[in-house]
Structure formats: structure tokens, C-alpha cells
């Protein structure tokens, strides 16, 4: 291998390590107090692999929040780096006090090997392919380029420039901003490395996915279906794959919380839900759908009796959830001040007129046909799974309720959006349904996994004696 390649490899490794350390340090400032009410002491018996993805996720949000407050890349990076160093120092103390010995535990080591393996696998498709797809160039990484050249996420970036009207400048900026920061530190722009932001954001959900590892067919199904069936949207620079991935992980973590009652899973699930808001505008719909799904399961489990006094929400968790939502609110305030509006014009009187017109002119049928075209493969599997459960005469698996309800609501919401779109309906459907329905496919696949997992571990299903009695 030539020396220049070795040097480049070392440079790339250094960029990765510094980026992860920077984000981890920032995230620890929020996650340390959330999990342990301290930055250097431990109150819960958690594995590092449970804490790490949550910490990284918090790092992304804090980093974006600081940039939104300070606006300029230079100042925000300096302040964030100082804060990150503080967080990282505290984490190092915490790590050596509580995690260092556990890290050598074979179960933990195997899972970390799994994480590293998956992360290495994803380097190829994410980082060796240039920014090429349409929205990737015209929207997400164009915004990254605008921030990079202006050195600011503020108006100087050019959000009001008439020539960029096509670029949907109101879209969330977390990933574009992260891409711009990476390139700003390196001091140049190209069409490959900004995708590092995509890669970094891929790491937390893959880590969580590995924490579900066990020797079962259902887990192999999950592993094949969840990241890989989101192809090519997970690595072509569109946000739809990541949105679907985070949505699915939120559902899986919530399911694990229901079964194991580990609070870190609840925090992680909600954090994934909140993170949806930072990925895409559809994330707002997905987040609300998730919350409704969780509430419906809670109500069903409690036979529709709500005892608010029994629900004890720690105050520090509420404060941290609000902190995590601040950057989202800040971006909306900025957009309002800069008069950047969404192209869909939701809530305007004209959108209601379009809704009533399209309900009666056959557009609804066209929308439903298109939506069904892209979700009915996974829906088929869900039908098979539900009927299999029925054929085995097992009770309905309630844990699938959040996945089914949230996915259903999301699809319903998207149908309404298509009904009110000011764009030509055929054009809008042809350009977006295939990718926005990835989230629905993901949600349905999670429901299938939960049924498969329940059947696989059900002694009645697996015991020939009991089945013969049918």
C-alpha cells in the first residue's frame, strides 16, 4: 500500500475518532444527568452499549442546538469543543470507575464486535458513493454546502435567495449542519465527505439493533429486514431511510421497555422519537404517531383506566426532554422570522379547498392505490403473521399495537398530505410515495418481527404435544 494511502487512511480514522469523541462528549453532558443524575457517578446498572447510542444521539442534538443559538460555524464549534472536552473528561472518569471491567465481559464484547462489523459494512455504500441522488444534491447536501460557504446557519447562508426556491429550505438542518461542520473543520468542500454526517447518524440505531441480538430466527429476520430493506434510502443521502430506521428502533426499544421495564429503553425510545423531528418534516407526523401508539398500548394494558397519580415522571427527565426539543423549536422560530414557509401550505384555506375537491374527484383512490403498491408486500407478511398467530390459537400479541397503530396513523397522515398537496398530484405521488412509505414498511416489519418472536418463543407453538390437542 503506498504511503499516501496509509496517511489518508490515518487521516480518515482520525476524523472518525475525533467526530465520535466530540459528539460523545457533548451528549454525555445530557445523558449522564439523565441516567445517573451525575456526570461521574453511576446510579443504574447499565451496560456501555445501552448508554452509548443514547449519548451519541444527544450529542447530535446539542451540537445542532449550539449552532442554532450561535449561528456561526466557527464560534459554535469552539464553544461545543470546549463543552465536549468537559463532557468527555467526565465520561472518561465514569468509564474507568464503572465500565472498564465490564467491557471485558464476553457478551458485551461480542455485541461491540457486532456494532463495529455493521459500521464497517456501511462505510462502503455510504462513503464511497458521491452525492448523486436528486434530493441529496438539490436539498440536503446543498443546504450543507450553503452553510459551509457562509460559515453560518443564519440568513447569510442564502435561505432567502430566490434562486434556491426549489431547494425546500425549510427542511430540518441537523444533518446538513453536521456535514457543513465536518467540511468546515477540514477547510474544503467535496461531494463525498459531507456524507460522513449520514454515517455518524447511522451509528446509534445500528448499535441499538445489535443490543437485541440473540440466537433466534426472528432476530436474523430483524437484522436482514431492518437496515437492508431500507435500501437504497439508507445510504443514498435521502433522509427517508434514516427516518424509517429511527422510527423502527423507537418501536423496538419501547417494546423492550414494556417487557423488561428498563428505563434506559424508555428514554432511548423517546429520544429516537424526538430525533425524528430533526431528520425530516414527516418526522413530526411520525413522532406524533409513535406517541399515540404508545398511549394506546398503555390504555389497553390498563383496560382504559387512567390513573395519572400512578404515572410518576421524574422532573429531570421532563427538563431533559424539553432541552432536547429546544433546537427543534429554535429552527421553527428562525424559519418564522426569515419568512421561510413550507411548499405544502398546510393549514391554509386553499389546502382545505383542495382536500374537499380531491375527496370527490377520484384522487383518493389514486392515492390509496399508490400507497398500497408500496406497502402491500410488508402488509402481506403481516397478514400471514397475524393469521398464523390465529391458526396457532395464541392470544393477540398486544406488543404489536404501537407498531400497527403508529404505522397506520402515519400512512393516514401521509394520505391527508397528498390530498392537500398544492403540487400536481400525479407528480407528487410518483416522486415521493416510494420513499415516504419506507417508514410504513419498517413499522409493519417491526410488527411482523414481534409476532414471529412471540411465536418462536411460545412453548405451545414449539411443543408438538400441545399442538396435537388442537
Amino acid at each position: 500500500m503506498p504511503l499516501s494511502t496509509v496517511i489518508n487512511l490515518l487521516k480518515f480514522a482520525a476524523i472518525m475518532v475525533v467526530s465520535l469523541a466530540y459528539l460523545y462528549g457533548l451528549g454525555w453532558l445530557l445523558v449522564g444527568p439523565l441516567l445517573n443524575r451525575s456526570l461521574i457517578s453511576k446510579r443504574n446498572d447499565l451496560l456501555l452499549i445501552q448508554e452509548s447510542p443514547l449519548t451519541l444521539l444527544a450529542g447530535f442534538i446539542i451540537n445542532f442546538g449550539i449552532l442554532l443559538v450561535l449561528q456561526t460555524l466557527k464560534t459554535s464549534l469552539i464553544i461545543s469543543a470546549v463543552l465536549s472536552l468537559i463532557g468527555l473528561s467526565c465520561f472518561v472518569v465514569y468509564f474507568f470507575r464503572y465500565h472498564f471491567r465490564k467491557f471485558k465481559n464476553p457478551d458485551s464484547t461480542n455485541k461491540w464486535i457486532g456494532v463495529v462489523f455493521f459500521c464497517l459494512l456501511m462505510i462502503g455504500p455510504i462513503l464511497t458513493i458521491a452525492l448523486d441522488a436528486w434530493d441529496t444534491r438539490s436539498i440536503w447536501f446543498f443546504h450543507s454546502k450553503m452553510i459551509y460557504y457562509a460559515g453560518s446557519i443564519g440568513l447569510a447562508a442564502g435561505w432567502q435567495d430566490p434562486s434556491v426556491v426549489f431547494s425546500q429550505v425549510d427542511y430540518p438542518k441537523l444533518i446538513p449542519a453536521l456535514g457543513a461542520q465536518v467540511m468546515y473543520v477540514l477547510g474544503f468542500w467535496n461531494e463525498y465527505l459531507p456524507k460522513l454526517s449520514l454515517y455518524l447518524i447511522f451509528i446509534p440505531p445500528i448499535t441499538w439493533l445489535v443490543t437485541f441480538a440473540r440466537r433466534s430466527f426472528s432476530y436474523i429476520f430483524l437484522l436482514i429486514i431492518l437496515p437492508f430493506s431500507l435500501y437504497p434510502w439508507l445510504w443514498n443521502g435521502y433522509m427517508d431511510g434514516l427516518l424509517a430506521f429511527y422510527f423502527c428502533i423507537a418501536l423496538l426499544l419501547f417494546d423492550r421497555y414494556i417487557k423488561s421495564n428498563e428505563k434506559v429503553d424508555l428514554f432511548s425510545s423517546i429520544a429516537c422519537g424526538i430525533f425524528l423531528l430533526y431528520l425530516k418534516n414527516e418526522g413530526i407526523l411520525a413522532f406524533l404517531a409513535l406517541l399515540v401508539g404508545f398511549v394506546v398500548l398503555y390504555l389497553i394494558r390498563n383496560r382504559f383506566k387512567v390513573n395519572l397519580k400512578a404515572v410518576k415522571i421524574p422532573w429531570h427527565m421532563v427538563v431533559i426532554a424539553i432541552l432536547a426539543l429546544i433546537p427543534f423549536a429554535l429552527w421553527w422560530i428562525d424559519k418564522g422570522q426569515w419568512r421561510i414557509s413550507n411548499d405544502l401550505g398546510l393549514g391554509q384555506s386553499s389546502s382545505f379547498e383542495r382536500l374537499t375537491a380531491r375527496l370527490s374527484d377520484g384522487s383518493l383512490q389514486m392515492i390509496l392505490d399508490k400507497v398500497m403498491k408500496y406497502i402491500n408486500a410488508s402488509l402481506n407478511l403481516l397478514v400471514v403473521m397475524l393469521i398464523s398467530n390465529f391458526v396457532f390459537r395464541r392470544p393477540f400479541i398486544k406488543e404489536t399495537i404501537p407498531a400497527i397503530v403508529a404505522t397506520g396513523l402515519y400512512v393516514l397522515g401521509m394520505v391527508v398530505i397528498y390530498l392537500v398537496t398544492p403540487h400536481d398530484l400525479v407528480w407528487h405521488l410518483n416522486n415521493s410515495t416510494v420513499r415516504v412509505m419506507e417508514l410504513a414498511n419498517g413499522g409493519i416489519s417491526v410488527a411482523c418481527y414481534l409476532i414471529l418472536d412471540a411465536l418462536e418463543h411460545d412453548p405451545v407453538v414449539m411443543s408438538p404435544k400441545a399442538i396435537r390437542q388442537l
Binding site: 456501511m122 462502503g124 464511497t128 429476520f221 429486514i225 435500501y231 403498491k373 407453538v461 399442538i467
Partner: protein, 192 residues
């Protein structure tokens, strides 16, 4: 003989089989809908799944697994995804210098742009263009317009810019402007 047949049929038609038969009929309707909506291979699997279930003495978990595997093979895009991972990873390992250079060198990755955008970019560089506009014909072609705007950034498109990118065949329409540079698809003119 007839009694024996009746007895055999009675033994065959257990509660489980009648139940599965009813489900099979319902699933057939669902499968028909899917068959007409381009999900034919997996639809056939569903039909086979429930048809075979009728003849089995008890529900079979193996049959569920076969259906799931058939879904992964025929209806999900996981296999093409793994194929792309394999392809990109093998390429990157075989020739590591290429992806590393691409990642760490300024201005790489422009090869994905359409020829019109590449020619416009080259003329912006050569002629130190600070702002530009596009001819009406180029502006209406939103594929080309978007690629030029995003790739030329931070050089911005302005309505009152004097440098104008036009299609090569439009040169005759811009005779009042000064021709700065011409390539096979795009030309740059300066209009006062």
C-alpha cells in the same frame, strides 16, 4: 365402502382443518387483490402456505418460517442491498486509495453532474464569473437548472446578472451579447 369414505372424510375434517379452510378462502380474496397489484410471487406463497396448512394435521411453524424466508427473497430489497454493500466494500478494499482520495481531496465527486452543469462549472472557473443567469430555455429545464445552481454555489444565480449561460444552439438568439466561451452544449455570453 361409502361408510368408510364418510368416516375418512369425518376424520380428515377436524375442527382445525375447517378453520384453516375458512381462513384459506378469506386469504384467497386478499391474495387476489395483491395478485392484481403486482405482488404475484409472494401472493403465490401465501396461497401455498394456507393450502398446505389444510392438509397438515397441525399448524406448522416451519411453514411460517418458509413464508418469511420467501418474503425476504422475493418481496424485500434486502438481497440487492447486500449486493451493493458487497460490491462497494470489495472495491474499496481492492483499491483503497481511490475512495480515500475521493474523501480527502477538495472538489471530488463532480463526475455525477450532467454534462451541461460540468461545462457551466468549468466556464465559471475559467472566466472568474461572480454571478450568472440562465437563458429562458435552460431555466425552464429544471433538471439542468437545479444541477447548475447547486454545483456552482457559492457563485449565485441572479436575475440581473450580466453573464448568461445559454445552450450552444441559442447563440444566434444572443447576438447583442458578447460571446465569452463556447463548449459543445453550453455557451457563456456577456450581456450589457
Amino acid at each position: 365402502m361409502t361408510d368408510q369414505k364418510k368416516k375418512g372424510l369425518k376424520t380428515f375434517l377436524t375442527r382445525y382443518r375447517i378453520f384453516t379452510l375458512v381462513i384459506f378462502i378469506l386469504v384467497s380474496l386478499w391474495a387476489y387483490y395483491n395478485y392484481t397489484h403486482e405482488h404475484r410471487s409472494f401472493t403465490l406463497f401465501i396461497m401455498v402456505f394456507f393450502f398446505v396448512s389444510i392438509f397438515l394435521p397441525k399448524p406448522s411453524f416451519t411453514l411460517v418460517l418458509v413464508t418469511v424466508i420467501s418474503y425476504l427473497l422475493f418481496s424485500s430489497v434486502s438481497i440487492p442491498a447486500l449486493n451493493q454493500i458487497r460490491h462497494t466494500s470489495v472495491e474499496a478494499v481492492a483499491h483503497p486509495s481511490i475512495p480515500l482520495n475521493n474523501l480527502l481531496t477538495p472538489d471530488t465527486g463532480l463526475e455525477v453532474l450532467p454534462e451541461e452543469a460540468l461545462q457551466a462549472l468549468s466556464m465559471i472557473d475559467t472566466n472568474k464569473v461572480e454571478e450568472y443567469r440562465l437563458s429562458p430555455s435552460l431555466n425552464e429545464d429544471y433538471h439542468t437548472m437545479q444541477r447548475i445552481v447547486e454545483s456552482a454555489w457559492p457563485v449565485r444565480m441572479r436575475e440581473d446578472a450580466r453573464h448568461v449561460f445559454i445552450r450552444a444552439e441559442e447563440i444566434a438568439d444572443f447576438q447583442k451579447c458578447q460571446l465569452i466561451e463556447e463548449k459543445d452544449l453550453i455557451a457563456l455570453v456577456y450581456c450589457d
